[in-house]
């Protein structure tokens, strides 16, 4: 069966990932008072215990953004973001992680707009669990980067696709 999408050129994808990382570092830094520090590539296929914030972007370059926050990192980051402590197990934690992703997404959309890539934000989704393992679609360009927030690591995943034009 023919796929409904086609691969994004690697150079374009690499450029997108670079903008995502910059946006994440600067926005979380501004919102939380602590800039995350990039630490290279994250391991794939490793389940983790934590909370994932997700957002999809439509427009010139459709892509998805996932931010994976292990428990300790999530608690610290949202505490600094909100200005008050939030219980990891409570409903406000998901709300707060969604807002962190939302704020990053807004900055990211602006940076992309400035380089001529128009995109629309969707509403964020959040999942919390143990042994969570985000899976990849075959052939879909994907990047997972590791960052450190204070002394706790987290990861960001970008996956892109271009819808195939209909005949």
């Amino acid at each position: 069966m023919e796929k409904a999408w086609q691969a994004v050129p690697q150079a374009k994808f690499d450029s997108l990932c670079s903008v995502v990382e910059t946006s994440l570092v600067e926005t979380v830094g501004a919102a939380c008072g602590v800039k995350p520090v990039p630490r290279g590539l994250a391991e794939t296929g490793v389940p983790f215990d934590g909370i994932i914030g997700m957002m999809s972007f439509t427009g010139d370059l459709p892509f998805s953004l996932m931010v994976g926050l292990p428990r300790t990192c999530a608690t610290r980051m949202v505490g600094k973001f909100a200005g008050f402590d939030i219980d990891y197990e409570g409903p406000d934690m998901g709300d707060a992680v969604g807002e962190v992703v939302n704020v990053v997404a807004g900055d990211l959309a602006l940076r992309l707009d400035r380089i001529g890539v128009r995109c629309q934000l969707t509403l964020p989704s959040v999942a919390r669990g143990r042994d969570v393992q985000p899976l990849s679609l075959e052939g879909q360009p994907e990047s997972r980067k590791l960052l450190r927030f204070e002394d706790a690591d987290f990861w960001v995943r970008v996956a892109a696709l271009n819808p195939r034009k209909s005949a």
Binding site: F81, I86, D95, A96, N102, V103, G106, D107, L121, L123
Partner: protein, 132 residues
């Protein structure tokens, strides 16, 4: 300082709390807050009691912030009530859509500081106090 009734409209409870806390810290007014989870909920609340100022997120389910602003401005009941967007949407297109087309009075980008609120909203609150 006069008491100002403010309706904070955002689908995120955490963000509503952050907005309310920042507004209290700004000392632009003594605030009495109402909350709504989306544009539809906000319209219902406006039908129940009057508010002096509205703070609106953009991306919300059921009725977005921009749809709410348009609906509010098309009604003569809320003429003159300041509407302030508080949103992560930052592109010039969105800012223009909110301010020039839909009729919002001010635009605050998330994340924001208390100082930014004071700087951007000072004039609006001076007018509000003068009218009371």
């Amino acid at each position: 300082m006069e008491t100002v009734k403010a309706l904070v409209i955002d689908d995120s409870r955490v963000m509503r709390m952050m907005v309310m806390k920042s507004l209290q810290d700004s000392r632009l007014a003594e605030f009495e807050f109402g909350e709504a989870e989306n544009g539809e909920d906000a319209l219902a609340k406006l039908g129940e009691e009057p508010y002096d100022v509205l703070f609106v997120d953009w991306n919300m389910p059921k009725m977005s912030g921009i749809e709410f602003v348009r609906a509010t401005r098309s009604s003569s009941d809320y003429d003159g009530v300041p509407i302030i967007m508080v949103t992560s949407e930052k592109t010039m297109g969105k800012v223009e859509e909110a301010l020039d087309q839909a009729g919002a009075n001010a635009y605050i980008c998330k994340p924001f500081t208390t100082e930014e609120l004071q700087k951007k909203l000072g004039g609006i609150f001076e007018d509000l106090h003068a009218r009371k």
